[in-house]
């Protein structure tokens, strides 16, 4: 029975990937991609990683889906032409390349399954070292304590994506088009319930993240989803300038994370040592704020946000 469930989800993944990528209209492809993301979340749930299920649902399907949809809408609003399909010869060659790469991934994956076996050495070392940190969630332990340079650079990459998007889009003109705001009575009621709920859930995920599945990334993505909701409902608008508060929010994760690390270095500890559980909460809170703010700005395609509409 267990195997049957896994096989059904796995077949679903393959069929959805095909539906999202091959044939059909582009809009259908995006919807199928979102459904693919939800099915990936199910797969993570089956694989015993609720952390990844949450991250995949919130970031992989939710925020990525919103970014793809708004880009699709903007391309239409800009009146961009649709490209001519590729030649048939190219399709035949691509089929061969696709099948070969698939075989390659399968061989590498199967070899790795056999070679590593359950519970590699790193996993055992992690399980042994975790109790000393006071954290219960091994993933948060890896992200904030054991491999925290990776996490710091990851937050920096997100910031770099924002800066690079600004450079690509240019500051010298009006903001990118956004769909007209939804101001139907029902939408207002839904926003009044959902927007505070996103903040509540984000803070819960952040707090739970030290012991249970959850953490700054999932919490930040939930905050970003709330921001996207406010933007679609016309409560938040793109602004040509990035205000001081928003600037602080954008860099908070990088600054607090590296700041704590450098202070510890000055105190004679190794670089990026984390002094205690309170520091984990501090760093995670700053990261959540940064991730949420950056993702909302990437959706808006503008430098800043404001409560009042442009013009």
């Amino acid at each position: 029975m267990n195997l049957l469930i896994d096989v059904l989800i796995a077949i679903g993944l393959v069929v959805l990937a095909w539906q999202a990528l091959v044939g059909g209209s582009l809009f259908r492809g995006i919807v199928m991609f979102i459904v693919f993301g939800l099915t990936m979340a199910l797969a993570w749930a089956r694989l015993g990683s609720p952390d990844l299920a949450m991250a995949e649902a919130a970031i992989g399907a939710g925020v990525t889906g919103a970014l793809l949809m708004i880009a699709y809408w903007r391309l239409r609003a800009l009146g961009a032409s649709r490209p001519t399909p590729r030649s048939r010869l190219r399709a035949r060659l691509a089929l061969g390349v696709g099948v070969l790469s698939s075989v390659l991934v399968a061989m590498i994956g199967l070899a790795a399954v056999e070679a590593i076996g359950p519970g590699g050495e790193a996993g055992q070392a992690l399980a042994a070292a975790l109790p000393a940190t006071g954290l219960g969630n091994p993933i948060t332990g890896v992200l904030v304590i054991f491999r925290n340079l990776d996490t710091l650079l990851e937050v920096a990459v997100l910031l770099a994506a924002y800066v690079a998007s600004r450079a690509a889009l240019g500051d010298d003109k009006a903001a990118l088009p956004l769909p007209p705001a939804q101001d139907a009575p029902l939408v207002g009621a839904l926003v009044a319930v959902l927007a505070p709920l996103t903040v509540l859930v984000a803070i819960y995920l952040l707090k739970a993240g030290s012991q249970l599945p959850g953490g700054a990334f999932q919490a930040g993505a939930v905050l970003a989803a709330g921001g996207v909701l406010l933007m679609l409902a016309g409560r938040l608008h793109p602004a040509p300038l990035c205000g001081l508060g928003l600037r602080i929010a954008l860099v908070a994760g990088t600054v607090v994370f590296s700041g704590v690390g450098i202070i510890m270095l000055a105190l004679g500890q190794p670089l990026l040592a984390v002094p205690g559980t309170w520091a984990v909460y501090l760093i995670e809170t700053a990261m959540m704020v940064s991730i949420g703010a950056t993702l909302v700005l990437l959706f808006a395609g503008s430098a800043g946000l404001s409560g009042k509409a442009l013009r």
Partner: protein, 103 residues
Amino acid sequence: MSHAEVWVVAAAAVFGIGLYSLLIAAHLLRQLIAIKVMGSAIFLVLVVAAGPIDGALDGLPKALVLTGIVIAISAIAFALALLVRLAEVTGSTSLEDDADDDR
């Protein structure tokens, strides 16, 4: 077939579909979705290859994949900004490499 083998075979099939679509799709938005789907397939292989299915003990590959998911969305968001800019400037939504091949 064991559980791990089922997931690895499915991930391999998804990766192949992604690469196929990346090569034949002309629209850049579709190519971006293809890259994202290929990334998901690799994440699946990483987690399945490293850990026991029920024990949920090994947090390392999962933390790695969590990092990967965030890096993927950063890259996609930047690529989408480039795509919208490309459409603004040239009105096109693909990189026409075929025109260069006429030499």
